[in-house]
Amino acid sequence: MTTDTTPHSRAYDLLASVLSNKFEVPAEAIVPTATFEQLDLDSLAVVELFVVLTEELGIEVQDGEADPDLTLAGVADLMVEAVKS
């Protein structure tokens, strides 16, 4: 937990796991540059994703910044920020 990359990669792995297991997104589609639109997740599904991430992490991950162009790498950043704050 001393470098910038470890929390990010851990967050990304959790995100990828949730997308695959709960949201049934095909594994091959889960890449850091993918957007929600590319994953065929509508606005309600995106809010649902943030609810699930909040439950998984035990702290609130804000969904206010979840714009259509947000990438999965960007979501991992929001998760890391939530843990820090």
Binding site: K22, F23, E24, L44, A45, V47, E48, V51, T54, E55, E60
Partner: protein, 429 residues
């Protein structure tokens, strides 16, 4: 005006019930009369700790192309049943005129499993833990709405809520839509998934449920003298309805004709049946009139038969009074339990299958009837008999009565020039 009204055929059936996922599994289960009630871990410690659950239902495997996490279980059942029915009818939503396809689907309660879970989260963790899918998963009309999307159906879409008559009301309403010219195809049925402590407690507090916790398989025993209440169940059923002429043009005759629908209200009591059965009798007469039939024509009745003392006594008296010629009677609730809003749709499907196969499933657990209202119930094993006209009864809390009449399909006219047909066909096309 009989010439102006199209005959409507049941050309597809989909079923997901405690006897299994799929039409064949349910038909085999009810014909075998194998009770499906069992102890349910989630109900442990309650005064009633058993029910009939759909075994091994995997939405991922059974609802292709969908994302089941977006749907409450009642919608998953609706999707499965409707997709099976449409496939069974030999129809492909990619090919049909979407504007002319109606969906009429009932439910007594909608996605209350989702509602209760999200309410718990609201109270325990606050608003940010509440799913944005709460309403799309909970609203009772959402099974209908999701079906229109998956089936690409842009015709009239309705959700019927008449408690335990919801499924029969949906199918009867679909019949009326087809006859009115509002659609060319209707997918109609119902689903429910409320085997939860909250609902079980509610029904038990009314005294409606069997408390035979030491022997769940013997608990649902319609028309038996020792019955003590109904057994909760879950599942769904769908029928594809279309004008018989359109079906024939596609080379399909269908399982049966949906020949009549009768609806009425008891106007008597919120939940107790009118002991004289006036409202129920009115629905029966209306269904028969609608089908152009007389009581004496009825060969079989798929009864509501819940296994509650009040319903079965009133229904047995009704059957005895209206049908002194003693048609065969069954209630599949002995096998499946009471699927609540879905029950009428499941039983309509079973009635259509009885017409098609000339076979009536037994009333599971019926060993001894009450002496003063004995009906010609099928017991033990299924009975083979011709069924040219059958009724399916559904009665719901609120005093809703819905009765469907099914006729056998006319013998198909020969497609190829052939030798003269034998004269003794028994049916007129």
């Amino acid at each position: 005006m009989t010439g102006a009204r199209p005959d409507v055929a049941v050309t597809g059936i989909g079923l997901v019930t405690p006897a299994g996922t799929g039409r064949e599994a349910t038909w085999d289960g009810v014909c075998a009369g194998r009770p499906t009630a069992r102890h349910v871990p989630e109900l442990k410690g309650l005064p009633v700790d058993f029910a009939c659950l759909v075994p091994d239902f995997s939405p991922r495997g059974h609802v292709p192309g969908s994302r089941p996490w977006q749907y409450d279980r009642f919608t998953q059942f609706a999707l499965y049943a409707a997709l099976e029915a449409v496939s069974d009818a030999g129809l492909d939503p990619a090919d049909w005129d979407a504007d002319r396809v109606a969906v009429v689907f009932g439910s007594s309660a909608g996605g209350t499993g989702t509602m209760l879970e999200q309410h718990r989260k609201l109270l325990e963790a606050g608003t940010s833990r509440v799913s944005p899918l709460l309403l799309p998963m909970f609203l009772p009309n959402m099974a209908t709405g999701q079906l229109t999307i998956h089936l690409r159906a842009r015709g009239p879409a309705l959700c019927t809520v008449t408690a335990c008559a919801s499924g029969a009301t949906a199918i009867g309403t679909a019949l009326q839509l087809l006859r009115s010219g509002a659609c060319d195809i209707a997918v109609a049925g119902a689903s429910d998934a409320v085997v939860q402590p909250f609902w079980v407690t509610g029904f038990d507090r009314m005294g409606a449920l069997s408390r035979r916790c030491d022997d769940p398989r013997a608990a649902s025993r319609p028309f038996d003298a020792d019955r003590d209440g109904f057994v909760m169940a879950e599942g769904g059923a769908a029928l594809v309805l279309e004008p018989a002429s359109a079906a024939r043009a596609r080379g399909r005759s269908g399982y049966a004709l949906l020949a009549g629908y009768g609806a009425s209200s008891d106007a008597h009591h919120p939940v107790a049946p009118d002991p004289e059965g006036k409202g129920a009798a009115l629905a029966v007469r209306r269904a028969l009139d609608d089908a152009g039939a007389r009581p004496a024509d009825v060969q079989h009745i798929n009864a509501h038969g819940t296994s509650t003392p009040l319903n079965d006594a009133a229904e047995a008296r009704l059957i005895g009074r209206l049908f002194p010629h003693r048609p065969s009677v069954t209630s599949v609730k002995g096998t499946l339990g009471h699927l609540l809003g879905a029950a009428g749709a499941v039983e309509a499907a079973i009635t259509a299958l009885s017409v098609a196969h000339g076979r009536v499933p037994p009333v599971a657990n019926l060993e001894k009837q009450e002496g003063d209202a004995e009906i010609n119930a099928v017991t033990g094993t299924s009975r083979e008999q011709p069924v040219d006209l059958a009724l399916s009864h559904s009665f719901g809390f609120g005093g809703h009565n819905a009765v469907l009449a099914f006729r056998s399909c006319p013998t198909e006219p020969a497609r190829e020039p052939a030798a003269p047909a034998p004269r003794a066909s028994g049916r007129t096309p």
